[in-house]
Symmetry: C2
DNA sequence: ACAATGCTGTGATGCTACTCACATTGTAAC
DNA sequence: GTTACAATGTGAGTAGCATCACAGCATTGT
């Protein structure tokens, strides 16, 4: 994942990294919250940040988990809207580089290679979202969960010797439910069913997927490349 | 809607319109289909085109309906993927301007105002998709349908004297179902319930919404601007 | 170590939405 | 107009999920 980011988006990353301002990410703190004035965006250097939308009725919808090398807060670029629409919560401590929004906008307009990278990145973003759409809506809640697990594998999976994939992110059942648009209880039941079948196992809150193919065939996965089929 | 497009995206539109090649859109024909080599994109001059993804099991997921002034096929820009991922079907005859993909890519890199417009457009795209996500996933199938109706009003609604909104697109129940990720029967039942309540009425396959507010409150609409809350 | 708190597991219950089946209505073609 | 076919309407049965309620564990802080 990070390899992909650095290969394809080296200019963008370099620019963001050149930022002098680095801030610590403290667990459970917010990088930004819905409604806050949006003047900057962030490059995650280490740690993990969860981006989600809080609904008026208290429900939460998770969109992304961002790790090292990923950009957060980009949605306010080139819009008139001066406020964040989403909330970014730190789920694993680390550091982030801070970039001024106006500065980046200016750079993007005069630096063709940078422009190209940014456009390429946005295109990918849109394609990712479309595949996710299909998964979350077309195959019921089971499809939504399986898809989320597959995407977690592609984004944060560490291959083990026996072919299993260890997902190196701590997610509560409630968090998974927020990704899938379902309930904690449903996630719990579905995960337990998968455990029974030996498809997955869990240890200290982290999931290992033993049979990724089972998940893929269940949701009629079309084997889109891992840089499309991931947690955005 | 079209007013918005021309105001915000005049450069982009002008470039696309300067294209010498114009093709007719014949009803039920395809502008492109999934898997076809993608070398060009299109500006709809008149008529309407529906963009959707066909799933392996025969189900269809609709993403957009594009009318005059809108750009179709943009997702292949700046990607290595030489093929269309979606299918564009003509649902109302008209004409489209054809633009070479490579040409547009080159233009985009050397023409800053154009670049700016394109990025702005992509940002909007992503934001639209995010709000749609919440609507389709968080409030059940009723939320999905109501959201689709609201978006249709914003994109293709014609205000009537009595405050009602006439949606000027002919959509079968099955098409609406494809937008919502539900079934024809469910759409039928929900629409009939809305008719009973006097919220909507139908005439020759087209819907008139009499009480848009009812739909909005039912899905906890946060009144996002119409250029975000629309059929993409 | 203990209490307090948060997370996970599980049954019971009811609503939501899908499926299947078929009737009715609308529409296009001849 | 008549016929054929497509689209809509509706009932019955069922699967899928949400909800509520509460018990068992695990983690954290003091």
């Amino acid at each position: 994942m990070n390899a992909t980011v650095s290969r394809d988006f080296s200019h963008l990353r370099a620019l963001l990294q050149s930022s002098k301002k680095v801030i610590p990410l403290r667990k459970h703190s917010f990088l930004f919250q819905e409604g806050m004035p949006a003047n900057e965006l962030y490059l995650i250097l280490s740690g993990k940040v969860q981006v989600s939308k809080i609904c008026p009725d208290g429900k939460e919808m998770c969109f992304r988990i961002c790790g090292s090398g990923e950009i957060v807060g980009e949605l306010t670029l080139f819009t008139n809207d001066p406020r964040y629409l989403l909330t970014a919560k730190v789920i694993e401590p680390g550091e982030a580089a801070v970039v001024n929004k106006t500065e980046l906008e200016e750079q993007l307009l005069i630096n063709p290679p940078l422009t190209l990278e940014y456009m390429r990145w946005m295109s990918k973003h849109v394609r990712r979202t479309q595949t996710k759409f299909r998964d979350l809506i077309m195959n019921g809640k089971k499809g939504a969960l399986y898809s989320t697990l597959i995407r977690l594998c592609n984004s944060y999976g560490i291959p083990l010797e026996d072919g299993s994939i260890f997902i190196d992110v701590t997610l509560k059942h409630q968090d998974l439910a927020n990704f899938c648009g379902t309930t904690r209880e449903s996630v719990n039941r579905m995960l337990n069913a998968l455990k029974q079948e030996g498809i997955i196992s869990m240890k200290r809150g982290k999931i290992t997927v033993h049979d990724l193919n089972y998940l893929k065939t269940e949701i009629q996965c079309e084997d889109c490349p891992p840089d499309i089929c991931c947690i955005e």
